[in-house]
Symmetry: C2
Subunit: 201 residues, 2 copies
C-alpha cells in the first residue's frame, strides 16, 4: 500500500497532538503505547516508525507542547502590561485549565515525571522553559519575578487538580490570581512596557 508524500509528517504531527493530550491527562508512566496509538486511530506497531521509543516521544512532546505554550504567552505584544497580565491570569488560572489537563499546559501535568527522566529530556525542558521565561521577563521586567510567576501558576494548577471539589479548586486559583496581581502592582510592575530592558531585582 502506497502513502502520499507528506503523509508521515502529517501523521507525526497528529500523533504529537493526540499523544500530548493523553499524556497530560493520564501521565507518562500510566499511559501505554497501545492507548497512545489508539487515540490516533492506529495500532501500536506503527508507533516505532514515528518514535524510537516511548521516552523519545516524551522528548518530542516537551518541545512541541512548550513551544505551543510560548506562542500563547507571546500574544498581544502591544497590549499594556496590565491588560496583558489580567488576560493571561484569567486564561491560565481558569477552572477550565484545572479540569481539562488534556488541553492545558504541560508543566503542571508532567514536570514531576520529567524530573525523573533522562538528562537529555531535562535539558530540552530547560531549554524550552528558558524561552518562556524570557518572554515573561520581557513582560514583567525582572528575571526573578518571571521565575516566581511561573512557579505560582504551575503550583496552583497542580494543587487545584488534586482537590476533589470545584469550590475549593476555585478558591485556590482565585487566591493565586489575587496574590500575583497585587504583588506585581505593589512592585510597580504593572506599568512596565514590554520593550524595556530587563532589570535585576
Amino acid at each position: 500500500m502506497r502513502y502520499p508524500p507528506g503523509y508521515k509528517e502529517k501523521k507525526h504531527t497528529e500523533l504529537l497532538k493526540t499523544s500530548g493530550s493523553l499524556m497530560k491527562k493520564n501521565g507518562f508512566a500510566a499511559t501505554g503505547v497501545d492507548a497512545l496509538m489508539q487515540s490516533a486511530g492506529m495500532t501500536s506497531g506503527a508507533f516505532y516508525s514515528h518514535f524510537a521509543s516511548k521516552s523519545d516521544l516524551l522528548k518530542a512532546l516537551v518541545t512541541s507542547e512548550l513551544t505551543a505554550s510560548q506562542n500563547l504567552w507571546a500574544r498581544n505584544p502591544h497590549a499594556s502590561a496590565e491588560d496583558w497580565l489580567d488576560f493571561e491570569l484569567e486564561r491560565y488560572l481558569s477552572i477550565q485549565h484545572v479540569q481539562q489537563p488534556e488541553t492545558g499546559c504541560l508543566l503542571p501535568s508532567l514536570s514531576a515525571e520529567i524530573a525523573r527522566t533522562d538528562l537529555s529530556i531535562r535539558e530540552l525542558y530547560e531549554q524550552e522553559l528558558l524561552k518562556g521565561h524570557a518572554i515573561l521577563t520581557q513582560r514583567l521586567g525582572h528575571e526573578e519575578l518571571a521565575w516566581a510567576f511561573i512557579c505560582q501558576l504551575v503550583g496552583s494548577i497542580l494543587i487545584a487538580r488534586a482537590l476533589p471539589h470545584e469550590e475549593l479548586q476555585r478558591s485556590v486559583i482565585h487566591a493565586s490570581k489575587l496574590f500575583l496581581r497585587s504583588a506585581l502592582v505593589a512592585k510597580n510592575l504593572s506599568f512596565a512596557m514590554p520593550t524595556q530592558e530587563p532589570q535585576k531585582l
Copy 2:
C-alpha cells in the same frame, strides 16, 4: 513462625516510611510492589497483609506524609512571624529539598498523580491539605495568602526538580524565596502574630 505482639504495627509504620520515600522519589505508577517491599527488606507477597492494594497504600501515604508535613509547619509557635517565615522559606525552598525528593514533601512529588486517582484519595488529600492550610492561615493571617503561599512553594520545587543544572535550580528557588518574602512584607504581614484571628483579603 511466631511474631511478637506489635510486630505488624511496627512493620506497617516502617513500610509507610520506606514506601513513602520510594514513591516520592520514583513516582506512584513507576514504582512496583516488588520494589516497595524490597526497600523494606521483604518480598511482594507480604505487601497484601498490610495494604488491600497499591492504591490503598497511596491513600495511607497521603495521610502519613501530610501529617508529618503539618508537624513541621506547626513548629516554633512562639517565634515571631518574620523569624518563622525566614526559617520555613529556607527549609522548604532549599537545594536539598530540590535534590532529595525522597525525604521531602509529598505535594510536589505526587500531586499530579493523585489528581488522577480515585475520589476517596483526593478527599483525603483535601482533608489533610486543609489542615496544613489552617496552620499557614494562622501564621500568615489570611486564608487566601496561605493558599498562594502553598502553591508558590510547591510549584517552585516541582519546576526546579525538572531542571538539569543546579545553578538554575538555585535561581528558581531563590526567586520564589525573594518574591514570597517581599510580597508578605509589602502586605504588612510579617508582623502578624500567630494567635490573631484570620482575615479575608
